[in-house]
């Protein structure tokens, strides 16, 4: 009995002790130690920093309905003196958002309510939004910022660009991403040879490293069936037919052909094909590889295509060069003699599968080829892959990780999926794009940002509406025929490979533009020459420049500047001494080579443009590195006078 009482008493004491430990544990909580540590740390600093009051700190973000207590330990967030301090005390890098207004977790994710390290990072049970790893941080910018280019978020912007260029929209629903133009397959049987097609289907990148066509990882059998199927497609869109090759090409003598090829080589370089096309891996990547094109497409097709690209391939952004028939034949001759793939594997003769057509069609459908490629009579495919519009809100329990063995988190899932699309299950159909780690990271960032979860309407920054600019009349026809939008932007439409032409006539003088069409050259010594010589006629140049002078012009950029000797001298002084413009610009081959050369600026530019540009360069071109020097009107005018004198 006494034993029982003793053990009763003892257990009572033990329970009492346990009870006493609980408030102690509560008193010495993790965050308190961090705050003591912070207050010690700031006494070691040379600057005076306000010590932290001991207690939990939180921001209540009303607009986003969040409470974040990260500041309890991250005490130096807005303390410039702590820029190099150890975590969790380091100052936050400068951003354009106020923490008080946005809080922390709207960008970083994690558990804002937590006051422990583990809890706030959020890799704990029952918390499905752990913190974004640093390399995917920019994903959160994408939650509100739906523009194509997000300032200060280069990875996100790169990811969105990649998603657009890789034509993910062909199979997946995505918001704000347009489908890309891809060649129609009608007539492919009359264009390419079967050996090339087989090699291409096996691995498109072996032919053209920068191609946007992914590798569908087809088996040899599938490749053969698909190639047989595609080779039966002999008719071009709208029943267009190939032109007959000129006789010089088909039955000319050896010397005739050699001479022809020589002329063709000259025309090819004048036409600057490599501005868009790559030739054996060098040159532009906008259009396909030409280095081995003679082993891919037959001469009749090359001839007819160059004669009028849009006839065989509607919608293609290839300009119609104004070549004469002889010149065209010459170019084809040159291509045939030079752009040959001597290593191409000739396919052994094979007997097609008896039901290759049906099987090939089925494969074409299975891999959703028509997501990208048009094929007469085939339905343009609806999206096949999962919807990507809110993929960033996907929960972990919605993801099948298969046997991949990767970290079970959304970022690592997306990254792995983009890198090796079929790793989660062999029955998946997504092709391999062979993205580099950086590219896959950028795409993952962009995809993670595809969510609007918890973002109120007033926080969203929508994408700019697409430009609807479409030039009409003669000019419109020429713009289409010469594929100007392929490189130039006008009123927000087109690529920015070359100059934005929206204010071209305010900037440049008529005579100069006219001459430029005849002999295009690069204004900047640092850039390769890219504008092709399109061999346009004088009448066509007149049409284009007339239109430009009416439309590509703004009255606000007009300004007459009075010329006198005093201003001239002052302008020269400002140019060479006060602002040292020669650091970037050349005059008579003297000076830097970053900016455009300014020789003959007086015969190229208009005074109003020079004046306004000098006053505020970024107003015209936000990304320009020309410094805004806050010139007075007087100074800008003097410089204008000086530059206009360089004829």
């Amino acid at each position: 009995m006494t034993k029982l009482r003793l053990s009763f008493a003892l257990s009572g004491v033990v329970f009492l002790l346990v009870l006493a430990v609980a408030p102690l544990k509560d008193f010495f909580r993790e965050w308190k130690w961090y705050q003591y540590e912070y207050n010690d740390l700031i006494t070691e600093l040379p600057q005076k920093v306000k010590p932290a009051e001991i207690g939990i700190k939180q921001v209540w973000v009303r607009g986003l309905d969040r409470i974040d207590r990260c500041g309890t330990c991250h005490l130096g967030l807005s303390e410039p003196a702590l820029q190099e301090a150890r975590q969790p005390f380091r100052a936050h890098p400068r951003i354009d958002h106020d923490f008080e207004e946005f809080g922390c977790t709207v960008c970083h994710e994690g558990q804002g309510a937590a006051t422990t390290y583990k809890g706030s990072v959020g890799k704990v049970e029952y918390w499905d939004k752990p913190m974004h790893p640093t390399k995917f941080m920019e994903a959160s910018c994408g939650k509100c910022h739906k523009e194509k280019e997000v300032l200060h978020a280069p990875i996100l912007t790169a990811g969105r660009k990649l998603i657009q260029e890789s034509n993910c929209a062909a199979c997946h629903r995505t918001e704000g991403v347009e489908k890309q133009w891809t060649p129609s397959l009608d007539g492919i049987g009359s264009k390419v040879n079967r050996s090339w097609l087989v090699n291409w289907l096996k691995n498109p990148k072996a032919y053209f490293v920068k191609t946007r066509m992914p590798n569908f990882l087809l088996s040899d059998e599938e490749v053969n069936i698909l190639a047989d199927f595609l080779m039966t497609l002999k008719t071009f869109p709208h029943d267009a037919t190939l032109d007959r090759l000129p006789t010089v090409l088909t039955s000319g003598t050896e010397t005739q052909r050699e001479k022809l090829a020589e002329l063709g080589a000259t025309r090819l370089s004048e036409a600057r094909c490599i501005s868009c096309h790559s030739i054996n891996g060098r040159g532009g990547t906008v259009a396909t590889e030409l280095g081995k094109v003679a082993s891919k497409a037959n001469p009749a097709w090359l001839y007819s295509y160059m004669k009028n690209p849009k006839r065989l391939q509607p919608g293609v952004e290839m300009p119609r060069y104004r070549f004469s028939e002889t010149e065209l034949a010459a170019v084809v001759a040159s291509i045939q003699s030079e752009f040959v793939d001597y290593d191409m594997e000739e396919q052994p003769p094979h007997t097609p599968d008896p039901s290759y057509f049906e099987k090939g069609r089925a494969l074409f459908k299975k891999y959703n080829c028509s997501g990208c490629h048009e094929l007469g009579g085939m339905m343009k495919a609806e999206e096949m892959g999962p919807d990507l519009t809110s993929i960033g809100a996907k929960r972990i329990y919605e993801i099948d990780f298969g046997r991949s063995g990767i970290e079970q988190a959304l970022p690592s899932y997306l990254f792995t999926k983009v890198k090796s699309p079929r790793v989660f299950s062999p029955t998946m159909k997504m092709p391999s794009y062979e993205f580099t780690d950086e590219e896959a990271q950028a795409i993952t960032v962009a995809l993670l940002g595809n969510t609007e979860e918890g973002i109120p309407e007033e926080f969203k920054v929508p994408a700019k509406p697409q430009s609807t600019y479409a030039p009409q009349g003669e000019f419109g026809k020429l713009v289409d025929d010469l594929a100007c939008f392929g490189c130039h932007t006008m009123f927000g439409r087109g690529r920015l490979v070359a100059t934005d032409l929206t204010l071209e006539a305010s900037q440049a003088q008529r005579k100069w533009i006219e001459k430029y069409f005849k002999i295009p050259y690069s204004l900047r010594p640092i850039l390769p020459e890219r504008m092709p010589n399109l061999f346009v006629s004088d009448a066509e140049i007149k049409v284009m420049v007339d239109y430009m002078e009416k439309v590509f012009i703004a009255d606000s950029v007009e300004r007459e500047v009075r010329v006198d000797q005093a201003r001239m001298a002052k302008g020269k002084m400002l140019y060479y001494e006060k602002y040292g413009c020669q650091a970037c610009h050349q005059i008579n081959l003297k000076g830097g080579y970053v900016g455009p050369a300014l020789d003959k600026a007086g015969s190229r530019l208009k005074p109003g443009w020079i004046f306004h540009w000098l006053k505020d360069p970024q107003a015209f071109k936000p990304e320009t590195i020309e410094p805004k020097n806050n010139l007075t009107d007087e100074e800008a005018e003097a410089l204008t006078v000086f530059l206009m004198s360089l004829k």
Partner: protein, 236 residues
């Protein structure tokens, strides 16, 4: 010193609280139990056999003790918890991360709740195996079973209150089970429990009221009867 005690015992305050003298005789010992609210629950005389610890294992008393722990911690939790959809989950997070000893309170409440279900069940087993349900105790057995059901209901209604996924689906499953009752009654039971057709704001308030008021009060009353019967039947 001794006189000080005697003066205390003789004072009017003392005598108004304890009407009897010190338990020095059989009579005063009996009176000490009779006149004390907390002790009167015990019978004045108990068989020696039933005092033996291994006879009852103290399970009834443990259940009552856990009920008290749950009431106290529950009342403290009620100070911080608001049964509304936007706040319930975050109040729980606040208890966990901000309120002094909040996590300790939650843990105490949770573990005591688990323990109470187990202990009450064991108590029922003990009563069954010692045959203590036999006449004249059959009515108290019935009350005991009702109390077991109340314990389980308390546990179940408390499950919804954290308002997390576990809670939501737990209650969805439970009320769907109620829906399976035939003759068109099931849907009505489920509707009554949830205050609607899905687990939402109404369900949360209903479960909160059941958990914090209706069920504890009903259980307390039944416990009073249960203990009183035990006393009348000469149990501990």
């Amino acid at each position: 010193m001794k006189s000080l005690w005697q003066r205390l015992f003789a004072s009017q305050v003392w005598r108004s609280i304890f009407r009897h003298g010190l338990p020095e005789s059989n009579r005063t010992r009996a009176e000490a139990v009779f006149y004390n609210f907390f002790l009167h629950i015990h019978p004045t005389k108990v068989r020696k056999r039933s005092v033996k610890f291994t006879y009852t294992w103290g399970l009834g008393g443990l259940s009552f003790g856990l009920f008290i722990v749950l009431t106290v911690t529950g009342a403290l939790l009620m100070l911080y918890y608001r049964p509304s959809v936007p706040q319930a989950y975050w109040d729980m997070k606040d208890l966990q991360y901000v309120v002094s000893s909040g996590q300790f309170l939650r843990n105490m409440h949770r573990w005591a709740a688990h323990a109470m279900v187990a202990v009450v069940f064991l108590h029922m087993l003990r009563v069954f195996f010692t045959g203590s349900y036999r006449p004249p105790k059959e009515f108290n057995w019935v009350i005991g079973v009702v109390l077991l059901v109340f314990t389980i209901l308390l546990s179940y209604t408390g499950y919804l209150l954290p308002w997390d996924q576990l809670a939501f689906w737990g209650i969805s499953v439970g009320t769907n089970m109620a829906r399976a009752v035939p003759f068109g009654v099931g849907d009505n039971i489920s509707f009554l429990l949830l205050g609607g057709n899905i687990v939402g704001e109404n369900a949360l308030v209903r479960f909160y009221v059941l958990h914090c008021f209706v069920l504890p009060v009903a259980a307390t009353m039944l416990m009073g009867i249960h203990f009183w019967r035990v006393r009348k039947d000469g149990g501990v």
